[in-house]
Amino acid sequence: MKPLIETRGLTKVYPDGTVALRDVSLRVHPGEVHGLLGENGAGKTTLTKILSGLLPPTSGEIRWRGEPVRFRSPREALRRGIGMVHQHFALVGPFTGLENIALGAEGGGALGPLRASTVRGRLERIMDESGLRAPLDVPVETLPVGVQQRVEILKMLYRDVELLILDEPTAVLTPQEAEELFETLRGLKAQGRTVIFITHKLKEVMEITDRITVLRGGRVVASLETREATPEKLSTLMVGREVVSEARRPRKATEPGEPVLTVRDLCVRGESGLRAVDGLSFEVRAGEVFAVAGVQGNGQTELVQALTGLRPFQGDVQVLGRSLKGLLPGEIGALGVAHIPEDRRKMGLILPFTVAENSVLGLQRFPRFRGALGRLRWRRIYGHARTLIEAFSIQAPGVRAPAAALSGGNQQKLVVGRELSKSPRLVIAAHPTRGLDVAATQYIRDLLARLRDEDVAVLLVSADLDEVFQLADRIGVMYEGRFTGIAPADALDRETVGLLMGGLPLEEALRARARARGSGEGSP
C-alpha cells in the first residue's frame, strides 16, 4: 500500500548542535492509527513538529502521497490536510467553541464575511458524521479539558484534515476522558482518516494503534504491527538494551538507618487542578538513595514541590518526625532539607544575581550570613562563595560575576554546592544531571553517592534510568501519580522498570520479564 505520509532520512540539528533526529524514516499508511512511542527526548515532538510544518528539517525529505513536499508553516501543512493537536491547546479561552473553530478558517480572504450559520451548519454535519460532539456556544475556558480537546479535534476536522497528529493527547485527560478519546479515534479511522498518536504509555499504544514506530535517541529503532508487539518488547525497544555504561556506585557496607522522610497517603493537585500525585506512601532512610523513576509528567514535579513547601498537599509528610504540613520552603530548608530543583535556570538560580548572591539563596536568613538588624554579612557571603567555587571546582569568572555567565554544568555545581552547604539530612534531587556534559554528570552522581555514604537520606527523582540504576538502593516507579511498584534496585532490571514506567503493575511486569527471560534462555 502506498503510504499517506513518508519521511526519508529526516535529520534535525538544532542551532546549539543538539541532534534531535538522525536519519528518521517513517511510513504512515492511510486509514491507520500510527503510534509514535519513545521516552522523553527521543525526538517524538521534534518529528511531529516537522511533519506539521512548525520546524524545518535540517536534511531529508517528506513525501505526501508519494510527492515530495516542503512546509514553510503549519498553515501550509494544514492546506495539504495535516493537522496537529498540541498538548497545550491553541484555543482562545473566552471564545466559544464555534468561534474558536471558525477562527482562521473564515474563508473568503481577510475581509470575507464570517457567517456563523454556515459554520454551524457544516459543524453539525461533521459532528453527526464523526460522532464527536462539543458544545459550540459556551466559552471554551469553561469546558473540561477533555471537551476542549474535542473542540481542538473538531477544529482540525473542520479544516478537512486527512492526517491528524495528536501530541500526548491523554496526558491531560482523566481515564474516562481518555476512553472517550479512543472511541473518537476509532470513529475517525472508520471514516478513513489517518492518525499519528504520540505517547509513552504502553497500554494506550497497545489498545488504540495499528502500527507502532519506536524512537530512541532520535533514531527509529523499530516499526512494527501492533498485533506483533508486546509491552515487554516495546519497553525494551524504548529503553534500549545497551549495557549500562557505568558501574553502579558501590555503597559502603553499612545498612541504611532510621527513616528521615516519611510520606503517607500524599495527594497533590497539579496546575490543572487534577490530582497529579494520588496517594503515595514511601520512606527514605538515612544513608539510602531512594529513586523515583518514571516518564516525566507522571506527578514527579508535583511530588517534589509538595515535599519542599512549594505546593500544598494532603496527607502526612514528616522529616525526622516533624510534619511538613503548612511549612514554607525556607522553614523546610531550615529543617535540614536540601533541594536541587529540576530547573536550575528558572528555580535554582537567579541568573542576574552574582555568584555570591546565588551562593546564599535560601541561606540568606541563616545566622551565618545575617547579622544584627538583618544586615547581610557580605564578607562571609563572599567567603562562602569562594569556598563553594573551590570545593566544587566551579569554573566562574569570579564571585561578583552574574550566574548567567556560568556554563550549565557550573551553574548546576553552584546549586548543588549551595544546597549541600546546608549540611542537610535529606537531599531532594530532581533530575540533577539533566542537560549536563559527561564530566559534570559524573561529578554530581559521585557527590550524591558520597552523601549517601555519609548517612544522608537522598530522594532522587530522575527520568534517566542509567542514573537511577547507578545510584538507587530502592526504586519507586511513578505512573499517573502512583507507584506502579517499589522494589530494591537489585530486584529490578531496566526492562522491568521500563514496563513499570509504561503503567504495568509490578507483579505483572515481573511475570512478563520472567517469561521473556525463560524463553530467552530456553532457546539460546
Partner: protein, 375 residues
Amino acid sequence: MSARLGGLRVLLEVGVALLLGLALGAVLMALWGYDPWKAYQALFQGALGDRFGIANTLSRATPLILTGLTFAVGVRAGLFNIGAQGQMILGALVAVLIGGLLDLPPGLHLPVTVLGAMLAGALWSLPAAFLKLTRGVHEVISTIMLNWIAYWFTGYVVIAYLSQGRRSLQVDPTARFPLIMAGSDLSYALLLSVLLAGLVYWALWHHVAGYELRAAGLNPEAARYGGVRPNRSLVWAFLLGGLAAGGAGAVEVLGRLPFAITNDLSNLGTLGFDGIAVALVGRNHPLGILLSAVFFGALAAGRTMMGYRAGVPFDMIQIVQGVIILAIAAPEMWRIARLRPRRARTPAAAGPAGTGTEGTEGGEGGERERERRQA
C-alpha cells in the same frame, strides 16, 4: 553589586545618550530659528553658573531624589509603581496640617511633621498593595486611580478648610527646614533626601529584606524556592516607596516658598511622575538617582535663564528637555520592556496561536520547553 560593577559602562551609556539628546535638541532649536549654542550656554549658566544657580539646582533635585527612589524600589521588586504622585501630594497635605496646625517645640516640630508626611505616603501605597495581593489588580491601574483620589481630596481640603487667599495656610517656622544658603531655596531637606537614598541603598544591598526584595523582583519562582515570601517583599517595596514619596511632599512644603500648598496644587507640580524619569535615568540605583536628580534639577533651574537670555519660548524648552530625557532614559526603558514579557511567559505559549487553557505541564513539557529554546 552588579550595578556597581557595571557603573562605568552605565556612565558611558548615559554620556553618549546625553550628547545625542543635546545634539537632537540643538537641531530642533536650529530648525525653528533659535540659537542652540546660546540656549545651552544660558541653560548651563542658570543651573551651574554661580552659587545661586547651583543652590537652585540642588534644591530642585531634593524632592526628585525621593520620588525617584519610590519608582526604583518598585522596579527592583518587579513592580511598576507609579503612585509617587498621589503619595507625594498626601505627604504635602499632612505636612501642612501638622506643620501649620500643631504647636510643637522647635526641635520636635520639624521631625514630627516630616515623619507624619512620610507615613501618610506609606499609608497611601497600601491600597495598591492590598489590591494587588488579594485581587490581582495591576499596580499601574490602582496607583493611577489613587493618584487622582489624592489629588482631588487634597485640593478639596486645601480650598475648603485651609485656604488663605491663593494658598493654604503656611507651616510654622518651627516646622520648616533651615536654609543651607541664605538667599536661596537650598535647605537641609537635601540632607534628608541624600540620607534616605543612602538608606535605600543599604536596605537593598546590605539588608536581608532588600536581598529578598531584589530576588523576588528578578525571579519570583526562584525567590520562593529560596525561602523568600514574594508577597511580603512586594508590601515592603510599596511601603518603602510610599515613605520616600511622602517625604518628597514634605521637603517641597517645608523646604521652600510658599511653605504651603497653592489652591491649585501647582507648587507640587508633577514631582511624583518626574521621579519615574529620574529613576530611569538613574538606572533604578540609589546612587544613580542622586546624580540623575541633580541633572533634572539643573534642567529645571536652567530653564528660566534659557528663556530669558536666549529667547527660547517655554514650549520649545520643554520639547528640548523632553528629547534629552528621552534619549537618556531610552536604554533603561528598553531593558524593562524586555524584562516584563519574559516574566509573564506561560508554558502554554508553545502552541502556534494564543491558548485558552493551560494543561498540566506534563508529558513532554520539559522536552518541548528545551526544544523551543533551541529553535
